[in-house]
């Protein structure tokens, strides 16, 4: 009965699709497993200044903040300071929503004074656990 055989035969491509899917899901599971085995560490934040540029009479300091820990820092407050002879002459802050573990985010702080004439410090001040 050729008609009946046709309905019960599965195309080879269905098994190819199943095999590719199994690989994909197994890959995802092993990725999660490798993350589970890695020890958890609190956010470890490093700031690097990318550029200092003039914008409409202000000075913009663009920075990249990298989280080398595994946990996410949420509502991260980043403070920029201009110092002269150990005294802070100007402060500016930025808030970043999320900096996930192992990820980097960019932001900027504005100053009225030219940061190039002072000692510039951009430091993380605080975050919350999401």
């Amino acid at each position: 009965m050729p008609a009946r055989r046709k309905t019960s035969i599965t195309s080879r491509w269905e098994w190819v699709a199943a095999a590719v899917s199994a690989l994909l899901v197994a890959g995802l599971i092993s990725l999660l497993a490798s993350q589970a085995l890695r020890p958890r560490s609190p956010p470890d934040l490093r700031v690097s200044v990318d550029a200092v540029e003039r914008r409409d009479g202000q000075h913009l300091v663009r920075f990249t903040i990298r989280n080398r820990g595994t946990e996410t820092a949420a509502d991260l407050h980043v403070e920029g300071e201009l110092q002269q002879a150990g005294e802070t002459v100007e402060r500016s802050t930025a808030v970043l929503d999320y900096v996930p573990g192992g990820a980097a985010r960019q932001g900027g702080v504005f100053f009225a004074r030219d940061p190039r004439a002072y000692t510039l410090r951009v430091v993380p001040r605080g975050y919350q656990v999401p």
Partner: protein, 282 residues
């Protein structure tokens, strides 16, 4: 009026009814996202290439959907292509109308913002436009015809239905802040439970849909075969679609860090249920 003119007037009337039904479907399907704050911001800051690519990729899905449940009873592929394009157009019109009414579009906005907003919001609406027929139509004969067509659809068409379900649900949830928050909160153990729960729920859907005759389970097809060919493949489609949608919204990328995989699993829950349910609903 000659008989020819009368027939044309009838066809015009039929088309206008189909079009207004499509418009209703577009509004119905796109309202949740039209009233989602994140979507208004994405309109202006999202990469133009990604918005364009989204529209290019959505069109073939709409065309195939039009084949199986378009708002007109079509007989040729050319008509389905036309239907798909019209559905996208209706999506644009519905999005623009609602956003104008809600004062989300107006003077003082840049062209970039306006086009970005409309293009993004047109996506869910265009699905609504093309699906309006199977959901709202009173034309039983047309529904029966398309239902029969869908029932006879082969494996590739079934995978496509699954992809449509995944795109629709993933697209509705991916732009929200909640996805970022959940993937930041969830550890690998929780993510793994989400993955497991998704597969169980999806298999329940696949197994349940069997009783509605779709897919018709051939003699001797075991539960494992059903799991591998529908549930697992459906989940893989859901993950791929989730990854694509997250990439489009910029949530997933080289800078997303270790929780990119978790984000995929989190969005994979609604997208996976979308793939499984699409075959029941469509």
């Amino acid at each position: 009026m000659t008989p020819g003119e009368a027939a044309r007037a009838g066809a015009d009337r039929e088309f206008l009814i189909g079009l207004s039904r499509a418009f209703g479907g577009a509004v119905f399907f796109s309202l949740p996202l039209l009233m989602t704050m994140e979507m208004w911001q994405f309109g202006f800051y999202l990469d133009r290439v990604r918005i364009g690519l989204l529209l290019v990729l959505i069109l073939p899905l709409l065309i195939v959907l039009a084949r199986f449940s378009g708002f007109m009873l079509t007989s040729s592929w050319l008509e389905d292509v036309v239907d798909g394009v019209i559905a996208l157009g209706v999506g644009v019109a519905a999005a623009a109308t609602i956003m104008l009414t809600l004062d989300l579009l107006g003077p003082g906005m840049s062209l970039r913002e306006i086009t970005g907003k409309i293009a993004l919001q047109a996506v869910p609406g265009s699905f609504g436009a093309v699906l309006a027929n199977s959901q709202f139509s009173a034309d039983r004969a047309e529904q029966r015809h398309e239902k029969a067509l869908r029932r006879r659809a082969g494996y590739p068409a079934q995978l496509l239905f699954m992809a449509v379900g995944a795109v629709f649900l993933a697209f509705n949830i991916a732009p929200t802040e909640e996805i970022v928050l959940l993937s930041a909160r969830l550890g690998p153990a929780h993510a793994f439970s989400v993955l497991l729960l998704t597969l169980i729920l999806m298999h329940a859907f696949v197994f349940g849909s069997r009783f509605r005759g779709m897919p018709e389970r051939p003699e001797g097809m075991s539960g494992i075969s059903l799991f591998l060919r529908y549930t697992l493949v459906g989940y893989a489609i859901a993950l791929l679609v989730s990854g694509y949608v997250l990439w489009t919204f910029g949530t997933l990328g080289p800078q997303s860090g270790g929780n990119g995989a978790v984000g995929l699993v989190v969005l994979g829950l609604p997208a996976g249920l979308g793939t499984a349910a699409a075959r029941l609903v469509l």
